[in-house]
C-alpha cells in the first residue's frame, strides 16, 4: 500500500512537469525544422517536416538581414547596457532595501511607474528628447534608454532578494571598519550571485530582443540591431517565412546559450547547495 502511494506521488510529481517540459521543447524543434524548408513547402503546410534540408536558408538569411554588422551592434548594446544595469541596479537595490532615508518611497514610486507605462507612450517623447540632445542615429542612441528601461525590474528583484539576507554579515564587516561601498561589493555582492544571474539573463534577453526603440531611433544601416534585421524578410505584399525563421533561430541562439551554459550551471550549483536531492 505504501509502495503504491509512493509510486502515485512520483507519478504526480513527475508526469505533469514532464508534459510541460515537452511542450516547451516543441517550439524550438518546430523553429529548427521549419527554418530548413523551402517557402513553397512552408506555405503548403507549416506543420509538416521538410522533405529536404535546405541549410542554405541560414546563409541567405544571414546575408539578407545583414547579420554580420547587426550582431556586433546588438552585442555592443547588450553588453554595455547589461554591465551598467547590473552595477546600478545592485547599488540601488541594496541601498533601498537596507537603509531607510528620506525620498525612498518616491524612488520606489517612480521606478514602479516607469515599469508600468506602455512603451508606445514613450517612443515619441524619447525620440524628441534624443533629437534635442543630438543622440539620434548614433552608437549610443539606445544604451541610455535600455539602461533606464531595465533598471526598475532589476532593482525590485535585487531589493526583494537582499531583504532575505541577514544583516549579520555586514555588521561583522563594519565592526572591522569596512566602508559602505566595500561592504556592498565584497560582502553582499557575492551572496547575491543567484539574483544577479537572473538579472543578467532577463536584461540581456530584453535588450537583445528590443525592437520599438531600435526601430525609430536608428536609421543608419551600420547601427541597426538584430531585431530590425528580422524585418528584412517582409516586402510590401509577401513575407519569406523560412528565411525569417532561419534568422530567428540564429537570433535566439545567444540568449539560449547564455541561459543554458551560464544560468543553468550556476543554479545547478546553488540549488545543490541549498536543497539536497
Amino acid at each position: 500500500m505504501n509502495k503504491v502511494k509512493r509510486y502515485l506521488a512520483d507519478f504526480f510529481v513527475n508526469v505533469p512537469i514532464m508534459l510541460l517540459s515537452l511542450t516547451c521543447i516543441f517550439p524550438v524543434v518546430w523553429l529548427l525544422y521549419s527554418s530548413v524548408k523551402t517557402d513553397v513547402e512552408f506555405n503548403i503546410s507549416p506543420v509538416k517536416l521538410p522533405t529536404k534540408i535546405h541549410l542554405d536558408n541560414f546563409i541567405t538569411a544571414f546575408k539578407r538581414a545583414n547579420f554580420g554588422t547587426f550582431t556586433f551592434n546588438s552585442l555592443f548594446n547588450s553588453i554595455i547596457s547589461l554591465l551598467l544595469v547590473l552595477v546600478v541596479s545592485f547599488i540601488l537595490g541594496y541601498l533601498l532595501s537596507r537603509y531607510r532615508f528620506r525620498g525612498r518611497g518616491l524612488i520606489y514610486g517612480m521606478l514602479m511607474a516607469a515599469m508600468m507605462i506602455p512603451i508606445y507612450a514613450l517612443i515619441v517623447p524619447i525620440f524628441i528628447q534624443e533629437k534635442k540632445m543630438g543622440l539620434l542615429n548614433s552608437r549610443f542612441s539606445l544604451i541610455p534608454v535600455y539602461v533606464a528601461m531595465e533598471l526598475p525590474t532589476a532593482v525590485f528583484l535585487i531589493d526583494s532578494y537582499v531583504k532575505g539576507i541577514s544583516v549579520d554579515l555586514e555588521d561583522a564587516a563594519s565592526i572591522d571598519g569596512a566602508s559602505l561601498p566595500r561592504t556592498m561589493f565584497t560582502i553582499i555582492m557575492p551572496v547575491c550571485r543567484p539574483i544577479l544571474s537572473t538579472v543578467v539573463i532577463l536584461t540581456f534577453m530584453h535588450v537583445w530582443n528590443e525592437f520599438p526603440f531600435a526601430q525609430v531611433l536608428l536609421s543608419r544601416e551600420e547601427l541597426k540591431t538584430i531585431p530590425i534585421g528580422l524585418t528584412y524578410f517582409t516586402s510590401q505584399y509577401t513575407t519569406s517565412y523560412t528565411l525569417l525563421l532561419a534568422a530567428l533561430a540564429m537570433a535566439t541562439i545567444p540568449v539560449l546559450v547564455l541561459y543554458l551554459f551560464f544560468y543553468n550551471k550556476i543554479m545547478e550549483g546553488m540549488m545543490a547547495g541549498a536543497v539536497k536531492g
Binding site: L84, F127, K131, K132, L136, N137, Y232, T238
Partner: protein, 474 residues
C-alpha cells in the same frame, strides 16, 4: 558569474554611469535647437551623424569627383519600404534606383529603409519629432495632415511642367494622392485590390462551367462546390484588412459608386447608413457562409495554403496574390488556376468591372527640399516610377502606375497576362482604407467587418457605428 572581474570594472562602469546621467540631465532640460529649423539643404539624419562618431560613413559625397553625363548633382534622403531583395515593385525600384545612381554619380541619395509593417510607426514618429526625411511614402489617409501642415510640396507643379513625365502615367494614377484639387504625390504602383482566383479543375469537377458572371451564378457555384466537400471561398482575415479591403470594398462598389464614396468622404450627404450600403453589408454577410469557418483566425498565407492544398476552390484577394501564386503555388494547382472579376449583383447598379484599385502609397516631397537637391530628387522620382521602371515592374508581375509602353507582354507569365488583360477592363474606384481617415478606414471598418462575417454584428449596427465614427472624424 565572475564576481572578481566585475569588481575590477566597477570603477569604470560607475564613472560611465555618472557621465551618462549628467549628460542626460544637462541636455534634456536645455533643449538645444539642433535641427529644429528645417533648413533648405539639411539632411536631417546625416546632421545627427556628423555630430557624433563615424561621420566618415557619408563617403559617397567626396568620392565622386567628376561630373558624368547628366550634370545632376545634389543630395536628398528617401524613406521607403522597398526591401533590397524583395519581389515585384521592390525589385523594379532597386533596378531603376541603381541605374539612376550609376548614371548620376554626383547625386547623393540616403536610403532609409523600414519594412512595410512598421513603416507607419516610424513615419509617425519622424513626423512628431520634426525629423521627416526629404522624400517619404504615404497613403492617402495621412495626406490631409501633411498637406494642411505645409510639410509637403505638391508634385503636380513639377510633373505637369515636364510633358514627357506627365504623359508617362496611366489614367487615374493620381486619384489616391489628390487632396483639395491638388495632386500632392508621385504614385508608383497600380493595384486592383480585389481579384477572384479560382481552381478550374475543382470548378469542372463540381459541374461549373467557367467563372460566374453574376452574383447568383456565384452563389450557385458556391453551393455546388460546398456540396462536393470543398470550401467554396477561402478567407484568411486574421489580420483584419483582407475581408474588408481586399473583398468587401469591391463588393460594395456593386451597390454604390465612386460619386457616392466621394460624397461620403467629403461629408457631402452620403452616409454609411444609406440603404444601398447596408444592402451591400447584408449581402456580404450572406456570402460569408461559403467561407472556411476559421476565416477570422487564419492569415493570408494560411488562406493561400487552403487553396494550394486543393481544399478551397477559390479566393478573392488583391492583385498581389497573382505574383504569390506564380512563385509559391504547386504546379498542378497553378496550371488550372485562373483569375476573374468579382461578379455584379443583379438589380444593383454596379458592374463586374467596378473594382477598388489604385496607387495606395505615394512618394511625398518635403517642402524643405529646393534647388539642386530638388531637381535631382525629381529626376530620381521620375526614374523610379515611369519608363523602364514600369516595364520592369510588369515583368516582375506588378502593374505600376507608369505606362509600360515598351514592355514585351509576350514573355509575361500566363496567369499574370490573364490578370493584365482583366485589369485593362476594370473601372478603378477608390480604396476605402487609402482615402478615409484611419480611424474609420483601418479602424472601425476592419474590426466590424470581422464581426459581420462572423455573424456577431448586424449590417445595421455596423453601418451605424461606421457612420458615428466617421462623423467624429470629419
Amino acid at each position: 558569474m565572475k564576481v572578481k572581474s566585475i569588481k575590477k570594472t566597477l570603477a569604470v562602469m560607475l564613472s560611465m554611469a555618472m557621465m551618462l546621467s549628467l549628460a542626460g540631465c544637462g541636455d534634456s532640460s536645455e533643449s538645444q535647437p539642433v535641427a529644429d529649423e528645417p533648413a533648405a539643404t539639411a539632411e536631417p539624419a546625416a546632421d545627427e551623424a556628423e555630430s557624433l562618431d563615424e561621420a566618415a560613413a557619408e563617403d559617397t559625397e567626396a568620392a565622386t569627383g567628376d561630373t558624368a553625363g547628366t550634370g545632376l548633382s545634389g543630395s536628398f534622403s528617401i524613406f521607403h519600404f522597398h526591401e533590397d531583395e524583395g519581389a515585384g515593385t521592390s525589385k523594379a525600384f532597386w533596378t531603376a534606383a541603381n541605374k539612376f545612381m550609376e548614371e548620376n554619380p554626383d547625386v547623393n541619395i540616403e536610403f532609409i529603409f523600414t519594412d512595410s509593417d512598421n513603416y507607419q510607426e516610424k513615419l509617425t514618429t519622424l513626423m512628431a519629432g520634426e525629423e521627416l526625411p526629404n522624400v517619404w511614402l504615404s497613403k492617402g489617409d495621412m495626406l490631409p495632415t501633411f498637406a494642411d501642415a505645409g510639410v509637403i510640396q505638391a508634385a503636380d507643379q513639377y510633373i505637369s511642367a515636364d510633358p514627357d513625365w506627365a504623359d508617362a502615367y496611366v489614367d487615374g494614377a493620381f486619384a489616391d494622392c489628390t487632396y483639395d484639387g491638388t495632386q500632392w504625390g508621385v504614385p508608383f504602383q497600380m493595384q486592383a485590390n480585389c481579384i477572384g482566383v479560382y481552381n478550374e479543375a475543382i470548378f469542372e469537377e463540381c459541374g461549373i462551367d467557367g467563372w460566374p458572371e453574376t452574383w447568383t451564378e456565384l452563389l450557385d457555384a458556391c453551393e455546388k462546390i460546398k456540396a462536393a466537400g470543398y470550401t467554396p471561398i477561402a478567407m484568411g482575415n486574421k489580420d483584419q484588412w483582407l475581408a474588408e479591403s481586399a473583398v468587401f470594398n469591391t463588393y460594395a462598389y456593386k451597390y454604390i459608386d465612386q460619386a457616392w464614396f466621394d460624397s461620403l468622404a467629403n461629408n457631402e450627404g452620403a452616409k454609411f447608413t444609406d440603404e444601398a450600403f447596408v444592402r451591400a453589408l447584408a449581402g456580404f454577410q450572406d456570402i460569408a457562409q461559403y467561407f472556411n469557418e476559421d476565416m477570422n483566425s487564419i492569415n493570408q498565407d494560411e488562406m493561400y495554403a487552403l487553396y494550394y492544398n486543393k481544399q478551397a476552390a477559390m479566393f478573392f484577394n488583391g492583385a498581389w496574390a497573382v505574383g504569390t501564386m506564380i512563385s509559391n503555388c504547386p504546379e498542378d494547382v497553378l496550371a488550372s488556376t485562373h483569375v476573374g472579376l468579382m461578379p455584379a449583383v443583379e438589380g444593383e447598379k454596379g458592374t463586374k468591372y467596378d473594382t477598388a484599385a489604385g496607387a495606395g502609397w505615394n512618394y511625398m516631397i518635403n517642402s524643405n527640399l529646393e534647388g539642386d537637391d530638388l531637381t535631382a530628387c525629381l529626376a530620381f522620382l521620375k526614374a523610379v516610377t515611369t519608363g523602364e521602371y514600369a516595364d520592369d515592374a510588369l515583368q516582375q508581375g506588378f502593374i505600376s502606375s507608369g505606362k509600360a509602353e515598351n514592355a514585351d507582354t509576350s514573355t509575361l507569365d500566363p496567369l499574370f497576362a490573364e490578370y493584365y488583360e482583366l485589369a485593362a477592363t476594370m473601372n478603378n474606384c477608390s480604396i476605402f482604407d487609402c482615402v478615409l481617415p484611419a480611424e474609420i478606414g483601418s479602424g472601425v471598418l476592419y474590426a466590424d467587418t470581422q464581426q459581420l462575417i462572423a455573424g456577431t454584428m448586424t449590417p445595421e449596427d455596423m453601418a451605424a457605428e461606421c457612420q458615428a465614427t466617421l462623423e467624429a472624424n470629419y
